[in-house]
């Protein structure tokens, strides 16, 4: 687990991630139609207001993945479906053949007894071991786990590994209040504000950052002590959300390399270029965009004036290119 990257770590990561950047760029563009499954499990509410929240959030997630993203969705209601039912679905998914992506939402109450994370459902609880076994059984499938439960922070250390993004609503097992995380996460999907890079779509990273910010603001506005601090573990290499976390601020280039930044919660924009010229320009644009991301990686190694001078040059090229593309169409 990597908490804070050193310079050497950063360089290694840059090299490895840059090499995969092109791959993921194309992946992001095509993900809507690929082999993706979404699994949503909501747990016991305990109190009516929690139960209502968990169900609403679960239903909304199902709608987004089914209706907007065209994904196959398994929705399990932990009030009715017991552990055996959930394990059956785990089994069904893992045995269904090669899967590109699994989006796994766990919404509800959970606890940690110093041995195991336990997600509260009717009958015996679902444990972290069972979740881990399930994820491990998926092989190369990219996994995006959103654990919107109390005590979920403990999952980051247990489940983190390459090709996985683990988002937890709390920073550790000691945050035991029912989290609000999912409410803001769903709000992010349709929010222009959450679209930080203004590419017209909200990525998983952007949704996480939006929710993280909104939660802090919510507690501050209410004058309450913040009882939940969301975490994100990406690809077994980068961790966001720890106290005084300034990784993205100090290394703006890293954001674009995270798996979470390439996984979107809305379908791709329909920019299909008809003319040959426009298609060539589009390829050129991808190249410039990569150069910009590369420059952002090197920001800390350059003087401020050199960096912004180079950045301006590239941005002017990009802007000019975009204008030409519009004209070409």
């Amino acid at each position: 687990m990597i908490h804070n990257l050193t310079c050497a770590d950063t360089r290694t990561l840059i090299l490895s991630l840059l090499s995969t950047l092109a791959l993921f760029s194309s992946l992001a563009a095509t993900q809507a139609t690929d082999n993706r499954v979404c699994l949503v499990v909501t747990g016991l509410g305990g109190l009516p207001q929690y139960e209502e929240n968990f169900l609403n959030w679960g239903n909304d997630t199902q709608t987004i993945f089914e209706d907007r993203l065209g994904s196959k969705v398994y929705y399990l209601d932990g009030r009715v479906q017991k552990k055996a039912d959930i394990l059956n679905v785990f089994n069904e998914i893992s045995s269904s053949g090669a899967l590109d992506e699994l989006w796994f939402f766990v919404i509800g109450h959970a606890s940690y007894d110093n041995l195991q994370y336990k997600f509260n459902i009717s009958g015996p609880d679902l444990t972290d071991t069972e979740i881990k076994d399930f994820l491990d059984s998926l092989g190369d499938t990219r996994v995006f786990l959103i654990a919107a439960t109390s005590a979920s922070g403990v999952l980051t250390s247990k489940l983190t590994q390459e090709n996985r993004v683990i988002i937890t609503a709390t920073k550790n097992q000691n945050e035991k209040q029912p989290p609000l995380f999912m409410s803001f996460f769903l709000e992010a999907i349709d929010s222009a504000t959450a679209d930080i890079d203004k590419n017209g779509r909200v990525s998983l990273l952007e949704a996480y950052l939006f929710s993280h910010h909104k939660i802090a603001t919510w507690f501050k506005d209410k004058g309450r002590i913040q009882t939940e601090h969301a975490l994100l573990e990406d690809n077994g290499q980068v961790r966001l959300g720890d106290k005084d976390d300034t990784l993205l601020e100090k290394n703006p280039g890293i954001a674009a390399t995270l798996l979470a930044s390439m996984a979107y919660l809305s379908p791709p924009l329909g920019s299909i270029y008809t003319s040959q010229h426009a298609q060539e320009l589009a390829l050129e644009r991808v190249r410039i965009e990569r150069e910009i991301e590369d420059l952002k990686f090197r920001k800390t190694q350059l003087s401020e004036s050199s960096y912004y001078h180079l950045l301006e040059e590239l941005l002017i090229k990009l802007a000019t290119l975009n204008q030409r593309m519009k004209e070409a169409e």
């Binding site: 222009a192 504000t193 959450a194 679209d195 930080i196 890079d197 203004k198 590419n199 017209g200 950052l209 939006f210 910010h213 909104k214 603001t217 501050k220 506005d221 004058g223 703006p252 965009e289 910009i292 952002k296 912004y308 950045l311 301006e312 941005l315 002017i316 990009l318 802007a319 000019t320 975009n322 204008q323």
Partner: protein, 824 residues
């Protein structure tokens, strides 16, 4: 033999001590006689008898020590103290009261922890005496722990009394100690304890000292004089009495008498720093800080070991803005006395100053905590400068010195800056050259209008300066309250039901005594009432006599010593005459309200719901019926109308509720909190989709009480919905005086300003927005770039458009702006 040899060595150091009778204890009769001689000021005779007393008697040594101390013979004090400790070390002090003398010796040597340990040992040796507790309690009082001292003095009072053996103190001293501890904590009961002490011992001097001091603080000169004369008749050389006498003469401006007393004090004890420290303390009490500094310096000149005077010097230098010298002096004071909590707290506060950002203006150095400086600076700087200029112009007085204006995000720091201790209930304070107040972070949202408080404090700056710091508290507070109310619609404190009730119950202080409501309030309620009353008195003076007369009063207070003289000179009336006029006007305003605000037996105040009644079932119907019956008899009762309106609203009968709530609003429009008719009517109009009425009601609510951010947000949203963007911006601007940390307000304001061509304001808002670490940084930078571009500032525009595109390279509008800027 070894112990005996040690004893001999110890006493061989004691000056002027006979080596005869070295193993004897002095008889009780002799000790009592010496104590009486000292009590009556016959110090020479006492000294003679003491020198002939047995050399190893701890009580003789103790009295010798006290005598040397009274006469400023510090070396002898140390020698006697050491001798007492040697006796203790050689286990010659057997019973509790003997051991206490060693504790006293350790205390006088500055070994406070050791002294406390010896007191503990004395406490474990039974039987204990009242005298032990009294000395012990005084150790705690000296070391700034009045609460613990109080407990010890209360223990003293419980001791079985009288003791058969000689004791230094009797039960009367326990009551004096208790009074001192209560007085130090501003608690009630000190006078009663002093009366008890005097009942037990009509000749008690310390009780008279405290009685006189307390009278002086209330400027009751005659009462103080009585206590002093009585005491000095018993002991004309008793320094604490002479010190209070000298202070009284100084405070009354009796210069020649003061010089005489000063000479007498220094003749008795040429090293007396206490007198000057007392003068310094009284000067601080009167907020004459320069004068206080001068006295504390004199105290240290006479007694450089007086750590308390050094600490006070340091703290008051800080109050006058001399940070560097104050800090240095406090460092020394700390090494001399690390127990002084005022020193420790102030040094800690000084350390925290590294985290404050300083902003210089012509008249102010503004200090804001680094964590909130980016957000507060634009608004605090603007308002501080505007208020100071407005008030200086209004009172035709330019302040000459630069003031330090500080905003504290931690209320405890503000309290330490103000009093040296946490626990202050106020929101702001002006003293010396310092204006300190809570920042909005220090208070719960929706309870603190920091703009109003700032204005209040700036009014103090002007009134204190205009009166050479001699304006009485009621007048400076009253003017500040008045100025707050004139600074903005709804600013300051509105009329409350509590004030009307206090008027009805005749609980307001006469104008001549109004200062006591600030300086010696009986309780918190009296302090609150006094603020409000003082404000209304000033508004009355403003209406009746005009601002120029108020200004003249301030000038006159800088020259005259009594309020009576000032009233006669400026208003040609006595205080009582002015008070009578004020009360006539007050009566005309408040008498009609008394009936409207009366509580009916069937409708206690506590039944008024905050957000409408919770119970809307059968019980409510029953209540509704009974309320309607009451209303038939009392249709002009405010609470009945409010309760009926609120109940009908909750029952889903808004049209009927409107009638009662509108009536309630007419009957007492000053009530504007979250359970007021304003709030309920706004909600009803919104329920009924009467947008214009809702806007108007929310406007009126805001103008009556601009304290509730939710009202401003709702009002501005309604105004934006109806395309009244500029007015919406006005309310959002005012929200900055309540909650400047809400990022969305800045974003919305920035957008309104950008759209309406107010580009500088737009930049200010987006700058603050960005300092709050928002999510959508790219858009904010782009909008700043737009505003800079509109102002023709290509360089800044280019910088911000780059910052926007760095985060969002695909941001099309930013790309277009970049190309436009490049082409320029």
């Amino acid at each position: 033999m070894k112990p005996l040899l040690l004893i001999f060595l110890a006493f061989s150091l004691t000056p002027g001590y006979s080596q005869e009778n070295e193993t004897d204890r002095a008889p009780k009769a002799l000790l009592t006689e010496i104590k009486q001689l000292m009590h009556h000021g016959h110090y020479e005779r006492a000294q003679e008898l003491l020198r002939n007393g047995p050399r190893n008697d701890p009580f003789i040594l103790r009295l010798l020590l006290e005598l040397a101390q009274r006469q400023g013979r510090d070396d002898e004090v140390n020698d006697y103290a050491h001798s007492l400790l040697d006796l203790y070390a050689s286990e010659q002090l057997i019973d509790s009261d003997e051991i206490v003398q060693a504790a006293y010796g350790a205390w006088k040597l500055g070994q406070f922890q050791n002294s406390n340990q010896i007191f503990i040992a004395a406490g474990k040796t039974k039987p204990t005496t009242v005298s032990m507790f009294i000395d012990w309690g005084h150790l705690y009082l000296t070391k700034y722990n009045a609460a613990e001292a109080e407990a010890i003095f209360r223990d003293a009072i419980m001791v079985e009394y009288p003791s058969l053996a000689y004791t230094r103190w009797d039960m009367d001293a326990a009551y004096v100690g208790l009074a001192q501890a209560l007085d130090a904590q501003f608690k009630t009961g000190a006078d009663e304890a002093l009366n008890k002490a005097l009942e037990l011992n009509p000749e008690n001097l310390e009780a008279r000292v405290l009685k006189a001091q307390r009278a002086l603080k209330k400027t009751r000169w005659q009462e103080a004089k009585k206590w002093l004369e009585e005491g000095l008749e018993i002991n004309p050389n008793y320094l604490p009495l002479l010190e209070v006498k000298g202070s009284s003469q100084f405070l009354q401006g009796k210069d020649s008498a003061f010089e005489k007393t000063r000479s007498k004090i220094l003749k008795i004890n040429p090293n007396n720093g206490d007198f000057f420290e007392m003068l310094g303390d009284f000067s601080v009490f009167q907020r004459h800080f320069d004068q206080a500094i001068d006295f504390f310096r004199q105290a240290l000149k006479h007694n450089p070991r007086q750590a308390s005077a050094r600490a006070s010097l340091g703290i008051n230098l800080l109050r006058m803005g001399h940070e560097e010298e104050g800090a240095k002096i406090l460092e020394v004071a700390y090494t001399q006395d690390p127990f002084n909590i005022w020193t420790v707290n102030t040094l800690r506060l000084l350390d925290s100053f590294d985290h404050f950002v300083r902003v210089e203006t012509p008249n102010l150095q503004i200090k804001l905590h680094e964590s909130e400086a980016d957000v507060l600076k634009p608004y605090a700087e603007e308002l501080a400068q505007r208020s100071l200029k407005t008030l200086q112009d209004k009172y035709n007085h330019q302040i000459s010195d630069k003031y330090i204006f500080e905003m504290y995000p931690d209320h405890a720091d503000f309290a330490v800056r103000t009093l040296g201790l946490p626990g202050l209930g106020a929101l702001g304070a002006t003293f010396g050259r310092i204006v300190a107040m809570d920042s909005p972070s220090a208070r719960p949202k929706g309870e603190f209008h920091w703009g109003s408080t700032l204005w209040h404090e700036m009014a103090h700056v002007v009134t204190l300066s205009l009166s050479n710091d001699r304006v009485p508290r009621w007048l400076t507070e009253g003017i500040s309250m008045m100025e707050e109310r004139q600074a903005g619609a709804g600013w300051g404190e509105p009329l409350t039901v509590g004030f009307v009730k206090a008027y009805e119950q005749n609980a307001l202080l006469p104008l001549a005594d109004l200062n006591l409501g600030f300086e010696q309030p009986k309780n918190r309620q009296q302090l609150t009432l006094s603020y409000f009353q003082a404000g209304w008195v000033c508004e009355f003076l403003f209406r009746r006599y005009g601002l120029e007369k108020i200004r003249s009063m301030l000038v006159a207070f800088g020259q005259e010593t009594t309020a009576e003289k000032v009233f006669q000179k400026v208003l040609q009336s006595s205080i009582e005459e002015v008070d009578e006029q004020f009360h006539k006007e007050l009566s005309a305003t408040l008498t009609p309200l008394i009936k409207r605000l009366s509580q009916l037996p069937s409708m206690p105040l506590r039944n008024i719901p905050m957000e409408g009644p919770q119970n809307t079932g059968e019980d409510s119907m029953y209540n509704l019926e009974s309320l309607e019956k009451s209303w038939q008899i009392n249709p002009d009762n405010y609470f009945l109308n409010l309760q009926l309106g609120s109940m009908l609203k909750a029952l889903g009968r808004p049209q009927e509720a409107l009638l009662y709530l509108e009536t309630a609003l007419d009957l007492f429009p000053a009530h504007a909190d979250r359970s007021s008719p304003y709030a309920l009517l706004s909600a009803i109009y919104e329920e009924l989709s009467q947008k214009d009425n809702a806007i108007e009601m929310r406007r009126r609510w805001w103008q009556a009480r601009p304290l509730y951010v939710e009202n401003a947000y709702k009002l501005s949203s309604l105004l934006i919905e109806t395309n009244q963007h500029q007015e919406a911006a006005q309310y959002l601007e005012e929200v900055m005086y309540l909650d400047p940390f809400h990022s969305e307000t800045h974003e919305r304001l920035g957008e309104i300003y950008l759209e309406s061509g107010q580009f500088k304001k737009a930049i200010r808002e987006f700058e603050v927005f960005l300092s709050l670490s928002p999510i959508d940084i790219a858009t904010a930078h782009y909008k700043m770039a737009q505003a800079f571009s509109q102002l023709g500032n290509v360089e800044s525009s280019r910088k911000h458009v780059l910052l926007s595109l760095e985060i969002a390279p695909g941001h099309e509008e930013a790309q277009e702006l970049l190309l436009k800027l490049v082409r320029k």
